[in-house]
């Protein structure tokens, strides 16, 4: 589904991703871990199409297409979803209105009929209930005044509504209480289908108790220095990142 080959990315002239190789197949969950500043969010943002980052080298193929050539909105319409590490506030635009705009653009793209406000509200309420999202959040402006945890839950809620094929979650588990964490994990697991894939960026092995990854990758200083199964996360938790830094980088990828 997603094929990243020797991806090198710079921001403001500074190289941040220094040759990433990663291959994600439909049906898989990949966890990406790594120290602060190692480039995890950069990877997520580049995949979503953030204009600030310059791709120096390498290629990214998504379902056989060159992802890097696609506009961010086209990536989203084709099923790429990135949950932001720092969700943005949109004053004056309600969560419900925003989501309906996004949902309908995606439906239009797929050649499906758009939903009217009433139909969409029904869908929204049902998903909100599933995700344990307070209904009042639907009518509030997007992320404005939301608590840190509410913002993260709102990202997963959007994911549950938009039903992407490839979900990239950037530290969505950070700052969540234990109940919210379970809800988020539940949301990811519900989307776990043979035709979908998830890239889960996280610092904590905690969430991996609820979402069992097929692969764990360790990103250090812009490179994937180690890849393995779910045991790698436990090992990391125990030994820290110095342990992988000391080791020779092993070829990454699934």
């Amino acid at each position: 589904m997603l094929e990243i080959k020797n991806l090198r990315v710079a921001v403001g002239g500074k190289e941040i991703l220094k040759g990433i190789n990663l291959s994600v197949n439909a049906g898989e969950v990949h966890a990406v871990m790594g120290p602060n500043g190692s480039g995890k969010s950069t990877l997520a943002q580049v995949l979503a199409g953030h204009p600030t980052f310059q791709v120096i080298e390498g290629e990214v193929t998504y379902e056989g297409r060159n992802l890097l050539e696609m506009m961010p909105e086209d990536r989203a319409k084709e099923g790429v979803f990135m949950a932001f590490q720092y969700p943005v506030e949109i004053p004056g635009v309600s969560n419900a209105y925003f989501l309906r705009s996004a949902y309908n653009e995606i439906r239009k793209h797929r050649g499906e009929e758009e939903l009217d406000a009433m139909e969409f509200l029904k869908l929204l309420r049902q998903r909100a209930k599933l995700m344990n999202i307070d209904e009042s959040l639907l009518n509030r402006p997007v992320n404005e005044g939301f608590s840190g945890g509410e913002k993260k839950k709102n990202e997963v809620f959007q994911m549950a509504v938009l039903e992407p094929k490839l979900a990239i979650l950037d530290e969505t588990d950070s700052g969540l209480d234990i109940d919210a964490l379970k809800v988020v994990a539940e949301g990811v697991n519900q989307l776990r289908r043979p035709e979908r894939a998830t890239v889960l960026i996280t610092h904590y092995q905690r969430i991996l108790n609820y979402i069992t990854p097929d692969y764990v990758h360790v990103l250090v200083d812009g490179k994937i220095v180690r890849s393995g199964g779910k045991e790698l996360a436990l090992e990391l938790e125990e030994k820290g990142y110095d342990w992988v830094r000391e080791k020779e980088a092993v070829p990454a990828g699934a």
Binding site: E73, P87, I90, F98, A102, E105, P141
Partner: protein
């Protein structure tokens, strides 16, 4: 040899047409007015004669040049245009419920056939000021001209000199007018550049409540100048909601002086929309002349093309425990310029004042400019006052957030701009008004550069 004594400023050519028209005006229909009205006009004219048109050297007009108004020889609109304005055109400007009392003024003159007033509560008056001067002078005289300051505004002085018609809304003690009074002012300069001086007086006696909509628009082939003077008196424990919509056409110049006077425990909620005119200026002053007063002043302005839109507000707290909340937002596009100046005065006696003032501007083009200046002058020590102003462009990180959810860039820009303005529309209490302005906002967005 004879010498004529003339005040030097009277000889200024830019005033000549106003002076000529004032002489004609005085000889003609204006003579039927009561003596006190004629005196008021003379006072206005005398002030007009003494003063000069402001220049950008005047602090109050620092960023707004009235030269485009001064150089046009506007003549007093006297004719009621025939057939140019279709009735459907007027009808199309109304919104809300059909039963709302409505007054229509064409080129400053009351049109009985286009107006409809029925089912008003006992004692309530929604009528032409011209008629009220004849029929209800005892209700008008104590208020008319008592609040509009002539000393510092040549435009208010000019408007007072030519005071003839306009709207009078009177709410007797304790009476509630549930239906908003909709006042429509239409300008149609057909043959030559014309000026109108609409005058509005709203008197809400103690404990009364009502809503007034001032709706100005133009459809004209010639330049026209709408010089509006509005006085609003809100009695003790009374409540007035006041909407002022300025949607003049591209030939229009609009200068409005709005003076609000609030008595003890009264409430005033003003909302100003500027969507039209090539040059628009609002001077909106509110005096909180009693304790426990609640004042809301909100506004939304759009400036595009070469428009120049200026809002000057002043809120004066004179007594303790007053509240004033003000939010003005502007969307400035093209080569337009927007000016905002908001003053809040807290006099020494006005302890426990709670005041918040905000001005936010969204700039959509590289050539658009904004000059904003919120000002606080506090002479009391136990108060809570904040103010702030921002001028910014669309937030790129927000655009990315929206596009990353599948929303195209133009739609993301529309949504953000909508959200920016919608914030202030949410303060509007009158539901049909909010709907109307939301539609206006959406139409504006389609025409703006964000939609491209």
């Amino acid at each position: 040899m004879t010498t004529t004594l003339v005040s030097p400023n009277l000889t200024v050519p830019e005033k000549a047409h106003y002076i000529a028209d004032f002489e004609l005006f005085n000889k003609n229909g204006a003579t039927v007015a009561p003596a006190w009205v004629r005196q008021l006009r003379q006072k206005g004219f005398a002030r007009f004669a003494e003063m000069n048109f402001p220049t950008m050297k005047d602090e109050e007009w620092k960023y707004t040049s009235v030269a485009p108004i001064v150089k046009v020889p506007f003549r007093l609109a006297v004719e009621y245009p025939s057939g140019v304005l279709a009735k459907t055109e007027i009808e199309g400007r109304f919104f809300g419920q059909p039963g709302w009392p409505r007054l229509v003024f064409v080129n400053g003159i009351f049109s009985r056939e286009l107006s409809s007033i029925s089912g008003l509560p006992k004692g309530v008056l929604v009528k032409s000021l011209g008629e009220a001067l004849k029929e209800n002078p005892e209700l008008v005289e104590p208020y008319l001209g008592k609040y509009a300051r002539l000393d510092d505004s040549i435009f208010a002085a000019l408007g007072t000199a030519f005071l003839q018609d306009g709207a009078f809304v009177y709410l007797p003690t304790g009476v509630v007018l549930e239906k908003p009074a909709h006042l429509l002012f239409v300008s149609t300069a057909e043959k030559e550049a014309t000026v109108v001086h609409p005058r509005i007086l709203v008197v809400a006696e103690a404990g009364s409540r009502g809503t007034v909509i001032e709706n100005h628009f133009g459809k004209s082939g010639q330049p026209y100048f709408s010089n509006v003077v509005t006085e609003i008196v809100v009695g003790e424990e009374a409540s007035v909601e006041h909407y002022k919509l300025q949607r003049e056409d591209e030939n229009g110049f609009h200068i409005a002086t709005t003076e609000v006077f609030q008595k003890r425990a009264s409430r005033y909620a003003g909302f100003t929309l500027d969507a039209g005119a090539q040059l628009g200026r609002n001077t909106h002053r509110v005096v909180l002349d009693g304790p426990e007063v609640d004042c809301r002043l909100n506004g939304l302005y759009f400036a595009a093309g070469k428009q120049h839109i200026d809002n000057h507000t002043a809120i004066e707290h004179r007594f303790p425990n007053g509240k004033s909340f003000e939010v003005y937002k502007g969307i400035v596009d093209g080569r337009a310029r927007a000016v905002y100046n908001g003053k809040v005065f807290v006099r020494q006696a006005a302890q426990k004042t709670d005041s918040k003032q905000t001005n936010k501007n969204l700039i959509l083009s590289d050539l658009a400019t904004v000059d904003t200046k919120p000002q606080l002058e506090i002479f009391a020590d136990d108060v809570k006052c904040t103010h702030g102003a921002t001028v910014g462009q669309l937030d790129e990180s927000a655009i990315f957030y929206l596009t990353a959810r599948g929303i195209s860039r133009p739609n993301a820009a529309r949504l953000l701009t909508f959200g920016f303005a919608n914030d202030v529309l949410n303060h509007i209490e009158l539901e049909p008004m909010r709907v109307e302005l939301e539609a206006e906002l959406l139409a504006r967005l389609e025409a703006s550069s964000v939609a491209k």
